[in-house]
């Protein structure tokens, strides 16, 4: 089930309303993209206010390809990773598949290309909330909990090591 912290951050993210994907009417997709950005900005602001700022994202002009950084802080050290994903043609009925390519092969909790292995709860929850959930929700419900569990484990195993100067970037 979804833990209390995740539920709290989820509840602070505005819900989206336009059910449109990149192959639908361009006007509707533009509207959806605006909603996506609005929700993401609000989510990042919430995170900052709560002292838990943990990612940045941006997209190409069409909003079909997203990329950015996410990070995990442990023992005062910041571990940063590139995050990227495509918006599938069936979006928002299906969620985007979030990927951390540089961690591909370092953990079993990943599919090809560094796509993170989500919990059994993610997809049912997403399906129930179409089209209200967007990218911000996928980050909060998918990537956030994944990083919290997998990164400490990878650090412990030595699969992820701290890189000097990462904090300054």
């Amino acid at each position: 089930m979804v833990d209390e912290a995740t539920r709290k951050s989820l509840s602070g993210i505005p819900l989206l309303k336009t059910k449109a994907g990149p192959k639908d009417d361009p006007k509707l997709w533009l509207q959806r993209l605006k909603e996506e950005y609005t929700a993401l900005i609000k989510y990042v602001e919430n995170n900052k206010a709560a002292g838990n700022d943990w990612f940045r994202l941006e997209s190409n002009k069409e909003g079909t390809r997203w990329f950015g950084k996410c990070w995990h802080v442990q023992d005062m050290l910041k571990y940063e990773f590139d995050v990227e994903f495509d918006i599938p043609v069936t979006y928002p009925v299906t969620a985007p598949e979030l990927a951390l390519p540089e961690l591909d092969g370092k953990t079993a909790k990943m599919y090809r290309g560094g796509k993170i292995c989500l919990t059994d709860h993610f997809k049912p929850l997403w399906a129930k909330n179409v089209p209200k959930f967007g990218i911000a929700h996928a980050m909060a419900l998918g990537l956030g909990p994944w990083l919290a569990v997998e990164i400490p484990e990878m650090i412990e195993k030595g699969a992820v090591v701290y890189k000097e100067g990462e904090d300054k970037k």
């Binding site: 539920r7 819900l15 309303k17 605006k34 609005t38 900005i41 069936t90 909790k109 059994d120 929850l125």
Partner: protein, 396 residues
């Protein structure tokens, strides 16, 4: 010292090995399938189906084009079976590479590691049967960049440059299945969905004729229940398990029903589940959902209703399929997955008439949720342009 004979034998051996590695064909093409029973005829046992009266015209198999999407544990074996059956043309889609971690499954070999799956498959399949035309696409069908090409291949990929005859989904994820569903509903292409559970001990095939049977969007995915408490399933440190046995069985069911459909023999199953722990195979027919999420499915349903109005005779054949499902004891623990507290709406129980041993992956609300409060939240920013929002996000 080796004799000349020994050396010659060694050279031949090595040549064969090279041929195998290169995937070079060991026989020429055969123009017409022969029913002659001789050691050198690769089609004699298939043409025997015709002689025995099982199939009316086996040779028709050469006219068909089948797309296999996903060339993994199920898809590669599916493609091999169709190749050995002498299918006319295969179009393979996959964007993955062969890895040593795939070696618990059939078909691919260790020396193919690193090659793209479609390329490696083409080499092997072509050497097994050079009569089959094989076209490959090494890309992800779910992305905006590739989707249009994917659809156009389905529309114009047949041997006569028309729509292909059948698509077989052998993918391992929901996104790709939805993409296939979307494409097949759009162009009216019949397809089989297949899958093996991540616990490796159950699987299924499902036949989808857009408008006639439930599409992949009509209902939540069905799960073959395995009596095992799913909450007990250990998923620590792993994503998915797989067995060559389960995958081989599902591929067998998939191709068997494809052949029955294409060559018109026997009854084509619309859904076959496979519970490996008990060797139980639930079957059923799923009617389309009149409130399906996909408008293209609704459109196809209307077209189908019109068709049967004009051709009432087709229904006579289907009386068998319509027989009411009898619910027996609930031995397989059919139950709906516990609803999540973040979504308080109580959803209607799905009225799918599932046979024992099957359940839906999750329940979805049958009615759209109230949207009053979210409008307020989003309207705050309605005036901002996308560029402004993008900039704000960048400078946050």
């Amino acid at each position: 010292m080796d004799t000349v004979e020994e050396l010659k034998a060694r050279v031949l051996e090595l040549e064969n090995e090279v041929a195998e590695l290169k995937g070079t064909s060991t026989r020429g093409r055969i123009d017409k399938m022969s029913a002659e029973v001789v050691d050198s005829n690769p089609y004699s046992r298939l043409m025997a189906l015709q002689k025995m009266g099982i199939v009316k015209n086996y040779e028709d198999v050469r006219t068909f084009t089948v797309a296999v999407v996903g060339v993994g544990g199920v898809g590669s074996v599916t493609a091999e079976m169709l190749t050995r059956c002498g299918i006319g043309k295969l179009i393979l889609f996959d964007y993955d590479k062969v890895e040593l971690a795939n070696m618990n499954r059939l078909f691919f070999q260790p020396h193919q590691s690193g090659q793209s799956k479609v390329e490696a498959a083409k080499n092997t399949l072509q050497s097994i049967n050079p009569d089959v035309e094989i076209e490959i696409y090494n890309y992800n069908i779910t992305t905006v960049d590739n989707y249009d090409d994917f659809v156009s291949r389905l529309e114009t990929g047949s041997k006569t440059k028309g729509q292909i005859d059948l698509l077989l989904s052998c993918v391992d994820n929901f996104e790709a299945r939805m993409t296939i569903n979307n494409a097949c509903n759009a162009i009216g292409l019949n397809w089989f969905e297949s899958g093996v559970a991540e616990n490796a001990v159950s699987g299924h095939i499902q036949f989808i004729i857009p408008g006639k049977y439930a599409c992949f969007s009509c209902a939540p995915p069905l799960i073959v229940s395995t009596k095992m408490d799913e909450k007990m399933l250990k998923k620590e440190g792993v994503c998915a398990a797989s067995l060559p046995t389960t995958m081989g069985i599902v591929a067998g069911l998939l191709v068997q029903n494809s052949l029955k459909y294409l060559l018109k023999f026997g009854d084509v199953s619309t859904y076959v589940g496979y519970n490996a722990l008990e060797d139980y195979f639930p079957t059923m027919t799923l009617k389309p959902n009149q409130n399906c999420d996909d408008s293209k499915c609704i459109k196809k349903q209307a077209e189908y209703q019109l068709y049967i109005k004009e051709h009432p005779e087709v229904l006579i054949e289907e009386v068998k399929e319509e027989t009411e499902v009898v619910h027996e004891d609930n031995d397989w623990g059919i139950s709906l997955v516990e609803s999540d507290p973040t979504n308080e709406e109580v959803s209607e129980e799905t009225s799918l008439n599932l046979v024992p041993g099957l359940k839906v992956a999750y329940d979805i609300p049958s009615k759209p949720l109230k949207e009053s409060h979210q409008e307020v939240e989003l309207d705050d920013d309605a005036g901002e342009s996308l560029d402004e929002l993008m900039n704000r996000m960048k400078n946050i």
